[in-house]
């Protein structure tokens, strides 16, 4: 109980600060401090899972963490801390450019972002499928307010699409959850929604309901994760949200629904119908990766580019889940989140500098801001899986595992699409970095504007060159 309270304490404090109309400059500093404090609290709460012999800790009835969920909670909070810290700078620039028409919008951003973070924490710590569903739906509702930040026609359209597509999608996941609940009532009349109890009694569950439930959950949570062809909301929402919000949407929200899929896949793998939970995710993941890499080639919006690259990574992670390797899924999620958060944060600054979201309008970042260009290239290299960076290791291991499995064709598809996306992203990034600037807003970017992205790239590099990846794989 104490843990649950302490997790939700800081977000509530942030909400109070925003509600009491604290001036924006004070707000920025205090929120940055609070969010790092939250990361420390989360580290304290999750620490027992890692260093003691027991691999899971119960927090309250229906709530608890094991090593996988604890790792995801930490990752989510790191992403949030980076995004919130960078947001302070992002909004100061917006202010300077005169684009912050309504100063209250900024505190509303922090208000909903804090609630959004709290909802994401609860996705990982709930052990009850019902509460997990409620938390995931809550993330949709709170982040819809973040997408609507721009307050213009495009933002409205993106928000509406996001709200309706995700709510209807998630409704199917609720149907799936109900089917799992119904399947458990065939052996005990009360039934259970507890994921661990369901997994332990997997063989006794009604098989027809389990299979149907899994398909519905995959559809529902797949909509939220942006699997092809259910991804239509994702590029719009990511490109209309302000940069720190896009970073959180891509770096942590996508992990939430994938985590739910991962848990259910583990459950179905324990039943007699494990084939369903192996083949469907691998094939769907490969298909998603392939189509999104095709979309990357001719992509015009800067943030839409990164959005499609997120879909591509979701496909890879889904394949890892299907291969029965939750630890690889986490490793890929870490690498993707680090690089993608850095890229979204940098893109926010690049868009502010050039005054355009259009990739073809952004030229010569190297001349207008060398530090920004350098970090952008570094982060893009980390994203595409260039060797010294961490994502190379995780993608390599996933490909190895895929080629060992029965689905060799999917491994080939994955390799092809990774190569294609590497070429596409490199061409787009080099075009933006080189050349002569077309139009540049008068905006001096201090070194602190690339501090957070550089640190994230450094973490990604550390995951690649040190034995950190090995440690993660062994612990989980």
């Amino acid at each position: 109980m104490f843990e649950l309270l302490s997790i939700s304490l800081i977000p509530l404090a942030i909400c109070l600060l925003c509600a009491f109309r604290v001036p924006n400059s004070t707000l920025r500093i205090s929120i940055t401090g609070l969010i790092w404090l939250k990361l420390i609290i989360v580290l304290f709460i999750t620490a027992p899972v890692f260093y003691r012999g027991n691999s899971s800790v119960s927090l309250f009835t229906d709530f608890g963490i094991d090593r996988l969920s604890a790792s995801f909670v930490i990752l989510t909070n790191v992403v949030a801390a980076s995004s919130f810290s960078h947001a302070a700078l992002f909004f100061r620039n917006e202010d300077k450019l005169g684009r912050l028409t309504e100063p209250r919008n900024e505190s509303w951003f922090y208000f909903y972002a804090a609630l959004f973070l709290c909802a994401m924490d609860f996705v990982f710590i709930s052990e009850n499928l019902g509460f997990m569903w409620i938390a995931i739906e809550a993330t949709t509702l709170f982040s819809a307010a973040l997408v609507y930040y721009g307050r213009d026609k495009h933002a409205l359209e993106a928000t509406w699409k996001y709200l309706i597509v995700c709510s209807v999608g998630i409704a199917f996941a609720l149907l799936g959850t109900i089917l799992f609940f119904a399947s458990s009532q065939f052996y005990s009349s009360a039934g259970t929604l507890d994921i661990r109890m369901l997994t332990n009694s997997a063989k006794q569950l009604q098989p027809k309901f389990v299979q149907l439930g899994y398909i519905f959950c995959l559809l529902g949570y797949g909509t939220k994760a942006g699997l092809f062809p259910l991804h239509t909301w994702l590029p719009d929402a990511h490109s209309e949200a302000p940069a720190p919000a896009s970073a959180m949407l891509s770096g942590s929200l996508l992990n939430c629904s994938l985590f739910a899929i991962c848990r259910l896949t583990e459950l179905v793998k324990h039943t007699d119908h494990a084939v369903l939970a192996t083949e469907v995710p691998i094939i769907w993941g490969a298909l998603t990766t392939l189509t999104s890499s095709l979309f990357l080639v001719n992509q015009m919006g800067l943030k839409r580019l990164w959005a499609y690259s997120s879909i591509e990574n979701v496909g890879i992670m889904l394949s890892a889940i299907g291969l029965g390797a939750p630890s690889l899924f986490f490793l890929q999620a870490v690498n993707h989140s680090l690089a993608k958060v850095a890229l979204f944060l940098l893109s926010g600054n690049i868009i502010q500098l050039n005054g355009s979201k259009d990739v073809s309008q952004i030229r010569g970042v190297l001349t207008s801001s060398p530090a920004l260009a350098f970090t952008l290239v570094l982060a893009a290299a980390a994203l595409t899986g260039m060797p010294p960076f961490g994502s190379f290791i995780s993608e390599w291991l996933i490909l190895l595992k895929a080629s060992d499995s029965a689905q060799v064709l999917c491994a080939v598809v994955l390799i092809l699409s990774l190569a294609l996306s590497f070429v596409a992203i490199s061409v787009h990034v080099l075009n933006m970095v080189l050349g002569s600037p077309k139009q540049v807003n008068k905006l001096s970017l201090p070194f602190s504007s690339v501090l957070v992205p550089i640190l994230l790239c450094f973490c990604s590099l550390m995951l690649g060159v040190t034995g950190l990846a090995q440690i993660i794989l062994e612990t989980l």
Binding site: N128, E157, S167, Q299
Partner: protein, 216 residues
């Protein structure tokens, strides 16, 4: 075939949902939605009587107060404010979509018979068929309508279908979960309502089919 009281209520609710598709008037749609939800709340209470589960009475009361009363009232307040009385309708004309829905109502019987039903009290396949039918009518409603308010109604009908399915196949989810779901639903309707106001202000219409600026 002897139908129990909750089954009868639920099947009537599914029929009412089919009728919703026959009218393009928002006030009629919202009224029918309210009737449908009242029937579902009644079925929940009857089910509580059969299984002796007190939680079901609480859930029935919550559904009656919020889903059957507050939500339709809120939506009709919005449509009054925005002076939107009639949906334009989409590619599927209203009478045709109603008949399609009735056909699906019959088909869902065949589908529901395939569902494995345990012999515990309250589990039944006619109830499941009502749930599937409601779900499909909600989907058709979302496809065949263009106004933002109708989209929300469609979503609520889908949600009703899923709830009906849960009620007849699992005797309802645990109270805490059910309350959380209801809360999420209410917040979702509120957020959608606020967005509808903003859409009217920015675009001067609430026709969702015309929102297609963002694409690749």
């Amino acid at each position: 075939m002897n139908l129990s009281a909750p089954e009868l209520c639920l099947l009537m609710a599914a029929l009412v949902a089919c009728l919703t598709l026959g009218s393009l008037h928002l006030s009629v749609n919202l009224g029918l939605f309210a009737i449908e939800t009242v029937l579902i709340a009644l079925a929940t209470a009857f089910m509580g009587g059969i299984t002796g589960d007190r939680e079901l009475y609480v859930i029935a009361l919550l559904i009656f107060c919020f889903k059957a009363f507050t939500v339709p009232l809120f939506l009709s307040w919005i449509s009054d404010k925005l002076m939107a009385q009639r949906d334009i309708g989409s590619f599927l004309p209203a009478p045709l979509s109603m008949h399609l829905c009735l056909i699906l109502f019959v088909l869902s019987f065949a589908l529901a018979k395939e569902i494995p039903v345990s012999h515990a009290a309250g589990h039944s396949w006619p109830g499941a068929s009502a749930g599937i039918s409601l779900l499909l009518s909600g989907l058709i409603l979302m496809l065949a309508r263009r106004l933002a308010i109708s989209q929300v109604v469609g979503f609520l009908v889908i949600e009703n279908g899923i709830y009906t399915f849960a009620l007849t196949q699992t005797r309802g989810m645990p109270l805490m979960v059910e309350m959380g779901i209801l809360l999420d639903l209410l917040v979702a309707v509120m957020v959608a309502g606020l967005l509808i106001f903003k859409i009217q202000k920015n675009f001067e219409h609430i026709d969702i089919a015309q929102l297609k600026d963002l694409r690749d």
